[in-house]
Symmetry: C2
DNA sequence: TATTAGCACTGTTACTTGTGGAGTGCTAAC
DNA sequence: GTTAGCACTCCACAAGTAACAGTGCTAATA
């Protein structure tokens, strides 16, 4: 593909992302100051179409990017969109909130991204198996409530409560502390499986009534980590593609299906930013949408995955720039936070 | 209004709720086995219309219920819809899960209602000010993480974590335990206000760096209790009223505005079940929808508010019956649970 | 050989017109 | 008080038309 073709293709896609209308040869020449006539552009467009980068909605319509076109655009043409000063300020302000629990981090990041990009944003926390249990602590609340606190290596904390019908003694709590720590400390935060459960039960002479609920609750809390966070569901509805009821309905249904969202967010390769355009999505329900995800990490530790979902005609350049910026910012904040335990004040 | 009018009005509304089409005099006679002719029915319909219970979409169309009509229907005509055996079974199964945290309770109830009624269901937890602090407990995790656990009188637990830059000693923890308990135990779970904050600070000689984050976090956890839970957002989209893009968009936007949902759920009078039809909603954004809410309580303790939102043409009778049933069931479960601390096994 | 002006052609959109049908309101008869 | 009968209204849908935006192709041009 020669330079002129690239230039024209880029212009078509930029224009289409802006207007959502099929792009005509005339408009390209006029708006993008191309120094050849519309007829020449038409010839190029015809060729780009026959190479699969563009489509037409009907014989005499302007051109519309194909999925192959978008893909080429994302991979080769798109230029980085600068994050504006106001946006930077806004992001820094929101991310400088002191964050102790992973849910908060995820929520704040999600809402920030949604507000800046104006797209619907979804997120999940870290997959349990990527976290290492640093300590388990049992705390007695009153005489019949036992709280289990699990601390993981990324400095985050999960807790759950078990209610008993009989009193629990402080010495039982000590034993539990020792037992569970000796068994689980340093292990990944996986559900406690049958063999491990048997083993724990065999090691302790308490009634099964005491241990069983603990294991159940721990497993529950580990599983439920897979919660999906949403922000800005309504935002997409102002986009012209949502004029089609079919698409709008599809979109809502997709968001409403948690399993689908989980699968989608978890399927990202370990690249900084993943872009899936239409049919590139593994899930056929997502074929009309594009998705951009990134795993946010501190060092080699995964803290969750955040994704944007929108029409294929998405402002990829904006979205990706914002994600890159936020990803970097998060990393900085959390790394200083973790090494120095300082309150993160953004140095102007 | 005489009996025949009532009968006809009820038939119109029942039919409209089923079909979503304007109801004609002929259809009424045929489907509802009325023993007078369509002409008579037409006369009655005309009168019901002039009294404001019915509307027409155009001069020669069938009748459609007005808001006044729906209101009369809900208040006087509607007969209780029996909850079917399968539904009862399903509800009992879902509600018999052992529940320790209020979030779980709310989530499970919300999803149960949504699944049975096929409407979008929203919920919030108990308003903080209705809960009484029973105890506050500080627990040291490692040497620089402090966990604050707040137990309330409805047996539910809230916790939060504070990270420090310096070590915290066990004796400090003791002091905090004493201080906060003596000040807050027995008080409603309100945010800690300035005077109280001053008072606590004056009572203790720790650096402000220790106390301040505690108060901030406690306040944060109290505020965030006002979380909104959703289930079945997509369900409504199959209803014919959502053919109108206007309405569909409105609906999504309404759900997307948390403040609106909070306001709406909190505005319920202390009646068992509140029904708001269209313009009866205080929030003008909700004028095209009907909302049915109930506060779920154990004894006189509020545990949260759950609401269904759907088109004005809602199956009120079904929705209200399900809510009544679930409300009763919740109450039973929790009361036995609380008085005996027994696992709630449903007695067939 | 690459570019471009010119023009026929195509499909879209918006507007009009016409027709069948569903349902009402009214009148007059029962 | 009820009902058969009928004129009337309005909608939904189909078909036709006109304006127009934009293309593809041809032939002329640099």
């Amino acid at each position: 593909m020669d330079d002129r073709k690239k230039k024209i293709l880029q212009a078509v896609i930029d224009e289409y992302i802006n207007t959502a209308e099929p792009v005509s040869s005339g408009a390209l020449v006029k708006k993008y100051g191309l120094d050849y006539s519309s007829a020449t552009v038409r010839n190029e467009l015809a060729e780009l179409e026959s190479n699969g980068y563009l489509d037409k909605t009907h014989t005499s319509s302007g051109r519309v990017p194909s999925e192959k076109g978008y893909r080429f655009y994302v991979d080769e043409l798109m230029k980085d969109d600068n994050v504006s000063l106001e946006e930077i300020k806004y992001i820094q302000e929101k991310l400088s909130t002191k964050i102790n629990e992973i849910e908060d981090l995820t929520k704040i990041t999600t809402s920030t991204i949604s507000e800046i990009t104006h797209y619907t944003t979804i997120a999940i926390g870290p997959r349990p198996e990527t976290q290492i249990i640093e300590e388990i602590k049992f705390v007695l609340l009153g005489s019949r409530m036992l709280m289990v606190v699990i601390m993981t290596d990324n400095g985050l904390v999960k807790e759950t409560i078990i209610k008993y019908e009989k009193d629990i003694t402080q010495s039982q709590v000590e034993t539990l502390n020792n037992l569970f720590n000796s068994k689980l400390k340093g292990k990944p935060l996986n559900k406690i499986d049958k063999p491990m459960e048997e083993y724990i039960l065999s090691e302790i002479n308490y009634s099964i009534d005491v241990i069983k609920p603990i294991i159940e609750q721990i497993n529950k809390v580990i599983e439920q980590e897979e919660q999906v966070y949403y922000e800005g569901t309504g935002k997409s509805f102002d986009l012209p593609e949502f004029k089609s009821l079919e698409i709008a309905k599809n979109f809502v249904n997709v968001l409403d299906t948690k399993e689908l969202m989980l699968e989608m967010l978890n399927s990202g390769v370990a690249k900084d930013i993943n872009v899936y355009i239409g049919d590139e999505n593994e899930q056929k329900e997502l074929k009309d949408f594009s998705i951009v995800t990134f795993k946010h990490t501190v060092g080699d530790k995964e803290l969750g995955t955040i994704g944007i979902i929108g029409p294929k005609r998405m402002n990829y350049s904006k979205v990706i720039s914002v994600m890159k910026y936020i990803s970097k910012k998060l990393n900085n904040n959390l790394q200083t936070n973790q090494s120095q335990e300082n309150e993160t004040k953004d140095t102007k």
